[in-house]
C-alpha cells in the first residue's frame, strides 16, 4: 500500500533537502528508505528534479558556488543511480546533448559542470572531452540523433573555430534539426550570428534553461 500523503511528502522532502544541503554521504540511504516505504519511483525522480532546480536557482542568486554545484551534481548522481534499477521500461529522457570543449582549448571544469546539470535534469549528455575537432561534434550529433550540441571555450583564440561546428552540421544536412549553444568565459552574446550558432552564454544555469526551452518547444 502506498504511504499516506504526508508520509510520502516527508520522504520526498528528505531527498530534496539531502541534495540541496549537499549531504552526499546520506543520499543513498535516504532514497533507499523512500523506496522501502513504497514511494513511487516517479515521485522520487520528481523530488530530485525539484532539488536540481533549487540548486540552479541558488547558483543564479550567488548563494551557491562552483564547488557546491559539483557536490550537488555528485549527490544527484547517487540518488539517480539508487532509483535506476526500479525504473520500469526505457527511462524517459529530456533530450540528447553532445558536448565538448572546442579544439585548441583544454579547460573542462565548466563543461563537466554543464554535463552534471544536464544529467540531473534528465538529459542524456554525450561527453566528447576536451580539444575536440569541430567535425567530431557533427559526427556524434548524427550518430546519437542529438537535439543539441554544446561547445565549451575559455580561450578567446579558440572562438573562431566554433563556427566550423555549424558548417559541419550544415554539410551533414543536420543544421535545421540540431541547435548549437556555446558557453564559457570566451563567449559573448553578440557572437551568435558570426559563429552561426543559436546561443552563447557565460553562465551554466542560463545555458541549461535555454537548452530546456529548446527541447520543450520541439
Amino acid at each position: 500500500m502506498p504511504p499516506r500523503r504526508e508520509v510520502l511528502a516527508s520522504y520526498l522532502k528528505a531527498i530534496s533537502e539531502c541534495i540541496v544541503e549537499l549531504r552526499i554521504a546520506e543520499i543513498q540511504g535516504v532514497v533507499k528508505q523512500a523506496l522501502d516505504a513504497g514511494v513511487a519511483v516517479e515521485d522520487i525522480l520528481g523530488a530530485v528534479a525539484d532539488a536540481s532546480q533549487e540548486v540552479g536557482a541558488k547558483f543564479e542568486h550567488n548563494e551557491f558556488f562552483l564547488s557546491d554545484l559539483i557536490m550537488a551534481g555528485e549527490t544527484t548522481k547517487i540518488a539517480l543511480a539508487a532509483v535506476t534499477p526500479f525504473v520500469k521500461g526505457t527511462p524517459r529522457t529530456s533530450g540528447r546533448v553532445v558536448i565538448g570543449t572546442i579544439e585548441g582549448d583544454l579547460h573542462d571544469i565548466g563543461k563537466n559542470l554543464v554535463i552534471r546539470l544536464l544529467e540531473a535534469n534528465g538529459f542524456e549528455a554525450f561527453d566528447l572531452g576536451i580539444d575536440v575537432p569541430a567535425k567530431k561534434f557533427a559526427q556524434k550529433a548524427a550518430e546519437v540523433r542529438a537535439e543539441c550540441v554544446g561547445i565549451s571555450a575559455l580561450l578567446s583564440v579558440t572562438v573562431p573555430t566554433i563556427k566550423n561546428v555549424a558548417e559541419h552540421l550544415e554539410n551533414a544536412g543536420l543544421r535545421s534539426k540540431v541547435r548549437i549553444i556555446a558557453g564559457g568565459a570566451a563567449l559573448r552574446k553578440e557572437y551568435v550570428n558570426q559563429l552561426k550558432i543559436d546561443a552563447a552564454v557565460n553562465d551554466v544555469v542560463e545555458g541549461l534553461n535555454i537548452v530546456k526551452s529548446w527541447v520543450n518547444k520541439n
Binding site: 552526499i24 554521504a25 551557491f64 558556488f65 564547488s67 555528485e74 579544439e103 583544454l106 583564440v157 564559457g184
Partner: protein
Amino acid sequence: MKPRERVINTIERRAVDRLAIDGWMRPETWLSLRKHFGVETNEDVMKALGIDIRTVYMTPPKGFTPKYVYPPQRLSKDLENLYATLFDEWHIGRQAGSTGEYWHFTYHPLQHSDLDAYEFPDLGAEGRFDGAKELVREYSPDYAVAGYAIYGIFEHAWALRGYETFIRDMYTNPAYAERLLDRLLDWKIEWTKRLSELGVDIVQVGDDLGTQTGLMLPPRLIKRYLIPRYKTWFRVLKNTGVYVFFHCDGKIDEIIPDLIETGIDILNPVQPECMNPAEVKEKYGSKITIHGCISVQQTLPFGTADDVRREVSERIRTLGYDGGYIVAPAHTIDKHIPLQNVLALYETAREYQF
C-alpha cells in the same frame, strides 16, 4: 630612474618618471618580438619594451629528467611529444593539447597513493636554485627581481588529487584536505624562503580561485582552508623583506579584503572582464598595488592598436594616479595577439604623461 627604483617607488607610492611595467609572454610571442626588434635574446626584448621586472625560477635538480609515456600506437616524431604524457617530479601527469600550446593534467598521484607514504620532492636537492642565483646576481641592482612561485596550495592540492576529488575532500573528508594543505604549505614556505634568500625583491605566489563570473569555492571554505594558511605563509615571507605578489584569475572581489588581511602587497591580474579595476582601486588602492588589468580576453586579441592605447591610458589614469599600479597584460600574451597590439601596450605605458 633605474627599473628597480621605479618598481619599488610604484609600490611605495613615491615619485616615478613613469609607472613600472611588466609582462609575461608565450614562447612564440618572444620569438616574434625578437624578430621585430632584430635582437637575439628575450632580455633584449624586455629592454626594448621597457619591462622593469625580471623573473627567476626554481628548476628541477641536477640529473632530473622528466619521464614521458608515449601512447601505444606508432606516431610520427612530431606527434610523439604532443600526445605523450609528461610526468614531473611529483609524478603528476600532463598532456599537451592538439595545438601543443597548453597542457592539461591527466594523472593525479594522490588518487593512487596514500598521502602519508607519499614523499614530496627534496627542496635541498643540488642545483635547484643555481640558475636563479646567477640571474639574481645579473639583474640586481638595476632591475626589480621577482621569484616565481605561482603554484599555490589549492592548485597544487588538486593537481595531486584531481580537481573534483579534492573539492569532495574539502566537503566530506576535511581531515585529509587539511593534512594535504598543511604538508603543501610547509613545502611552499620552504620554496619561497629559498627564493627570498637569493635576494629577490618580490615573491610571486598565487592560486586560481575565481571563474569568469564568481568564486570556485564558497567564501566559508576559502576562509577555512586557505586564508589562515596564506597568513602563515606570507608572514614568514614578509619577515624576509620581500613584497608578496598574489596571482588569482577571475572574479574574486568578494575575497579581496581577506587576501589583503593575509598581508599581500600586490594583486594580479584584476581581470577587467570580471571586475571593475577602477572600483578595486577605489576600495583597496591604499592597501595594495594592482598589477595587470590589460584585457587579454578582448582588447589585446580582438581590438585595434588604438583600442589598446585607449585601454592602457584609461587604466593608468584610473589606477596609477598615485602610483600603486604596475602596467601589465592580465595574463600571458600568446601568439594570437597581433604584434602591433603588444607594441601599442608597451609604447603607451612608457610614454603616458601624467
